[in-house]
Amino acid sequence: MLALNHSDLTLRLGSMAVLCIYSAVILLLSGILLLRFIRLAKERRRRKVTEIWRPLLAQCVVEVPETLPELTPQEHLVFLYLWNHCYESIRGDARAQLNELARRTKSDEFAKQLLRARRLRWRLLAIVTLGHLQERSIWNELVAMLEADNAFLSLIAAKALLDIDAPATVPLLIPVISRRNDWSPLKVVAMFGTVGADIAADTIAKAACQASPEIGSRLIRHLAATQSQQGLPPLRALLREGTTSDDILAACLFLFGECSDPRDVATVRAHISHPTWYVRLQAASALGKMGVEEDEPRLITLLDDEHWWVRYRAAEALSNLPWMTAERMTQLCGELSTIESQEHMLPFMARSNVRKAGPLPSVHPRAQAS
């Protein structure tokens, strides 16, 4: 304060700066303390709700009690997290009990209010909850969310729509899946988890047929993860019509190999001499998985392909053929006309020999050193 009475301007300015810094530090500290206090209060509330509701939720899986504790809006948020976790941990008729609990705690009404919340994570919580509750009254809002800029929000909305009414959602999803390049194909496959693999495969395949080659080929490759053959008919039709994209063609051949349906062998064979190297590569790999004895000479021909990767995959495909033995591979290698093709066979022959000999005896590092 003495400094403020001083006549020297520099000192005055210096003192004011110090005061400002002190005030800023005090404000900052108060802010930190306030944030810390809020966080602790939130944590206390979360613990309190969890302590009350975790055992109650377990009980509700069997039977909902007559009387239930009251929930404040803040507590209701924590409850919804617990409720959703419990809902996703179980399957079968026990879920009906949890739905009854949600109705009795008015969680459906609360979630509908949250749907308009400013915070994204609250909106996501509301969508997941209302999806589990199969709340039809928010159908139109969810459909609008499919076009949301936020990919996560739109994917969660799609999952909720599938939970509410899968048959009605599928036609809505086909154009969206084919258009959105920010939707991870793996997430798309996972989204159909509860609906069934066949519906998932059929929807994704139809979406892939409508999509750009970039999105379509990614979707087709991930169709194998559904472990369903329902995606094959739309893709066969697409190839019959004649696709102009080599990416789509290569992805289809990859899927044909993974599914190994004998009806697709002819299509695969027809592409082993395709002008694009990665189409020939996928045809070779697929033949290794689904080919019959007459395909062996076709793969041997590919060992002389101009592209290194095609030669490599053809050698691998030959080694994968079910009737291929270590002796047959050695004989085959001896009959090959070029050194390049023989060299491609060598690693697979070595692998086959190791498999035949069984696992190597483990040697202790110290014994190895001596």
Partner: protein, 131 residues
């Protein structure tokens, strides 16, 4: 860990997810089983070394420190626990884990999310009815 009473069959439940563990514990205790809860692979290993043999083990695959498959191998390597039935809890779609668990000595598996009724009926197959 809770003390197991003499007249009830004991289930060693190895589950790290607190919410799932609470639910499983409630369902098992309701079906009159005594439950011993190991929160991770390391604690499960410790229980194998120190506790009396339980009547059954309910073992999650995804665990901290040691995976369920590692715990399974440890249990099967212990002479006293060799014959204890083990039911694996595994995520839906992890066929590879299921195959590996059954090959490594698990007796049965249950997929998550699980059906509460199915859980108790599966355990009954391995256990004498609780008193």
């Amino acid at each position: 860990m809770q003390p197991a009473t003499n007249h009830k069959p004991t289930v060693l439940m190895v589950e790290d997810e607190e919410d799932t563990a609470s639910l499983l514990k409630f369902l098992l205790e309701r079906a009159s089983y005594a439950v011993v809860h190991a929160k991770d692979g390391r604690q499960a290993q410790e229980f194998v070394d120190t506790l009396p043999t339980p009547d059954i083990v309910l073992l999650d695959v995804m665990l901290p420190f040691l995976s369920g498959l590692q715990v399974l191998a440890y249990i099967r390597g212990n002479a006293a626990w060799e014959k204890v039935p083990i039911v694996m809890l595994t995520a839906d779609g992890s066929e590879h884990d299921i195959k590996r668990a059954l090959e490594s000595g698990a007796n049965d598996y249950m997929l998550k999310p699980f059906n509460p009724r199915e859980l108790t009926s599966r355990l009954k197959r391995f256990l004498a009815p609780a008193a």
